[in-house]
Symmetry: C2
Subunit: 436 residues, 2 copies
């Protein structure tokens, strides 16, 4: 059979976080799970090698700067179950993984308001240099009040003004990365002793909420100059921010149809600008449907849906601890959680009991469980229905979930001609956008 258009290639990121419980809560209790090794470099280097063996485009590292303390109005439940706390700074995981790989990209999450833009610009340029042009930045504006208090604010600013502030940061960062050092500024001429031509280096003057700067960027131009910009906001304001800045967008929705609406709105807002869109997905694969079902049943015994409620409480701003089992989840849209609530309210009213049932593997993502062919079918279905460029795969029992995916599903995708058989040359941006 001939198709009129080339078959769309699936791009993959792994979704990880330097903590015990990331997306599917409770999995760390599984005897084969190694998430508690998150403080060791070996743990991360092994993961990076597995992902590169599977030709993943990137490792997407989540982050929060606070704790989930909406559930029971206390951080106790999050601490007890290890829900994204304790955690580590994701930027510092990258260099060791980059040294052990050649092609894998690294998209790290960082709050645009937590570090002075002049300092942050150097951190990202440093990572872009050290990775040889394989760094991405998932821009977040923060949504936890606990993070705001940690940073000395009385609470989060309202949702839209956080994005306004992020626009100002993006402007200064863009100029530090792209305008402070012109092409050709670095001559590195051993004979004349001139390393840099000062006529081609320019100060950047900028200001935003709580910061000012007047400085040349400290780093010479890195391979990509600036990181590939990732974004995950699904609110109207988040969508506009993504349309203005993002090169890659990470969407989280329950069904392909629901995702299709988000993606269409995003692509329309971006206009002529090409944006890669990836959907969050949890996969439990086995060699056969029966093996996958067994594996899923095994995993589910260790899931901690109550811990997942703790995470939902933080991300949606709903204190599940005080709701009765059959009480409908109160839609109290706060400025902090517009997009998360919107995703939930898109369907019919949900009770606390109903929500917990949805979280039965320990997280909001309903897993795709199946043989390589079944998983590949599901992925191709999502791609086609929702006009996607690929997926961000959450961990279940780690690292075996990624090892299984690479060993079982990747070859099936390759057989179908929807997945690369070798990395392209070039930087992360060049690889993602076929520019080299």
């Amino acid at each position: 059979m001939q198709t009129s258009a080339p078959i769309r290639q699936i791009r993959l990121h792994a979704f990880e976080m330097a903590c015990v419980g990331h997306i599917q809560q409770g999995m760390w209790r599984h005897p084969r799970d190694r998430a508690t090794g998150y403080t060791r470099l070996d743990h991360w280097v092994a993961l990076a090698r597995t992902l590169e063996r599977g030709l993943f485009d990137g490792l997407f590292l989540a982050d929060v700067l606070g704790v989930y303390d909406v559930y029971g109005a206390s951080p106790d439940a999050a601490l007890r179950a290890g829900v994204q706390v304790p955690n580590l700074d994701p930027a510092l995981l990258v260099p060791a993984m980059a040294h052990a790989t050649r092609n894998l990209g690294f998209a790290i999450t960082a709050n645009a308001a937590a570090t002075h833009p002049f300092v942050f610009a150097r951190q990202m340029s440093t990572l872009d240099h050290l990775t040889g042009g394989r760094i991405g930045w998932n821009v977040v504006t923060g949504y936890l009040d606990s993070a705001a208090r940690a940073l000395g604010r009385d609470g989060q600013a309202d949702h839209d003004s956080r994005y306004d502030a992020a626009d100002q940061v993006m402007d200064a960062l863009g100029r530090l990365w792209r305008e402070s050092w012109q092409d050709g500024a670095v001559t590195a001429d051993r004979d004349t002793g001139v390393y840099t031509d000062p006529a081609r280096v320019h100060a950047v003057i900028g200001a935003g909420q709580g910061w000012r700067t007047d400085a040349i960027h400290l780093c010479e131009p890195s391979p990509q100059r600036g990181p590939v910009i990732y974004q995950a906001g699904a609110s109207a304001r988040g969508l506009r921010f993504a349309a203005d800045h993002a090169e890659c967008v990470f969407v989280n929705a329950t069904t392909p149809a629901q995702t299709a609406g988000l993606v269409a709105a995003l692509r329309e807002a971006a206009g002529a600008r090409r944006v890669q869109v990836f959907a969050g997905m949890t996969v439990v694969a086995g060699r056969t449907p029966a093996e996958a079902a067994d594996r899923y049943a095994d995993y589910e015994r260790y899931a901690d849906p109550e811990a997942a409620m703790v995470q939902s409480a933080g991300s949606m701003g709903v204190d599940f601890a005080v709701l009765a089992e059959d009480e409908a989840i109160r839609m109290v849209p706060t400025q902090a959680v517009v997009s998360n609530l919107a995703a939930l309210t898109a369907g019919p009213a949900v009770t606390k009991r109903g929500w917990r049932e949805r979280l039965r593997l320990g997280g909001r993502q309903v897993p795709v469980v199946g043989s390589p062919a079944q998983v590949a079918d599901a992925m191709q279905d999502w791609m086609a229905q929702a006009d996607l460029d690929g997926f961000v795969l959450a961990r279940t029992v780690t690292p075996e979930c990624f090892v299984d995916f690479v060993d079982l599903v990747v070859p099936e995708l390759q057989r179908r001609g929807v997945y690369k058989t070798a990395y392209a040359d070039g930087t992360l941006r060049e690889k993602l956008f076929d520019r080299k």
Copy 2:
């Protein structure tokens, strides 16, 4: 011959910075110099392996957050000669080097005022986890006006108040690192599903100049809990700060006698608290005195004393560009550079010409040039005269300067019984203080 006391062991750090021109300016032009590889991880991993082969205690990474723009009232001369600009964030070099080594320590320089303490606390705890307890922090308060402007201030605060501000930061950091998570807080019990006992985790409330925090520390206790604290200030206020906080002090002075005064003052101020003191030193070693002299002559041909003046101008607050050759260096003590000027003014008046002559290898440190025996003699002489614990060795032509030191001088020091033949067990702090 029997000595009444055990022979004092020499401890060594290498002094490096992620830039082209660090301490001895111009060396990057030498055909064998590889400093321009500072943006590549391989460059740093190879260095770390060399240092570990030589049983160095640590790699001391310098940093500045601004540019040297006092000379000619412009950053142009610093840019042209590559004087500590462009540069990279030193913290991000550590993870790859840590993964390639097992015992080498890493002391990174960071300005206590450039990053919010809550965020900085996590960065350092992350590094302490990832290195398995091998991280140190060289606390600086900044002295370049260009750095202050980059961070949105009108200029540097006065010298002593910068240390007052740093005291407040140290207090909050100490509580985040040592009090937020009690021993035993992490249970990681797979059977009960309890990762952390919330009763043993406590919020830290603190405030200082321009920041507040109210948060639990995000990281579980790391091997050392907090980094080994290094400090290099030599002013009266800097000395008090060191006496209060520092575990290791890095002194820079011209002669053993001058150093002895500083060290005595420091040890007296620290009282019963044991502090390790290291002196800056530049070594050019050869197998014989003649070979060392040849090597020095070869290096000197590439030195850039004028670039060294650019660095001196920034660190001393004296614009050498406007001085006549035989004009005495004007002692205009600014709040920014108290200690640097003090070191200079300790001797007789110095002219611009005289100062340049001192900088003839491209930096202020007058190199020790000689055979392994001559270098070992000089080191033992400094140790005895100035009551030192060891040295911080600056680079000349890199990496060969460190390879030469490891191959030639280390065996000589070992033969004399003044240098370890194997690493001790334990964290950096335990190794430095013989605590394990």
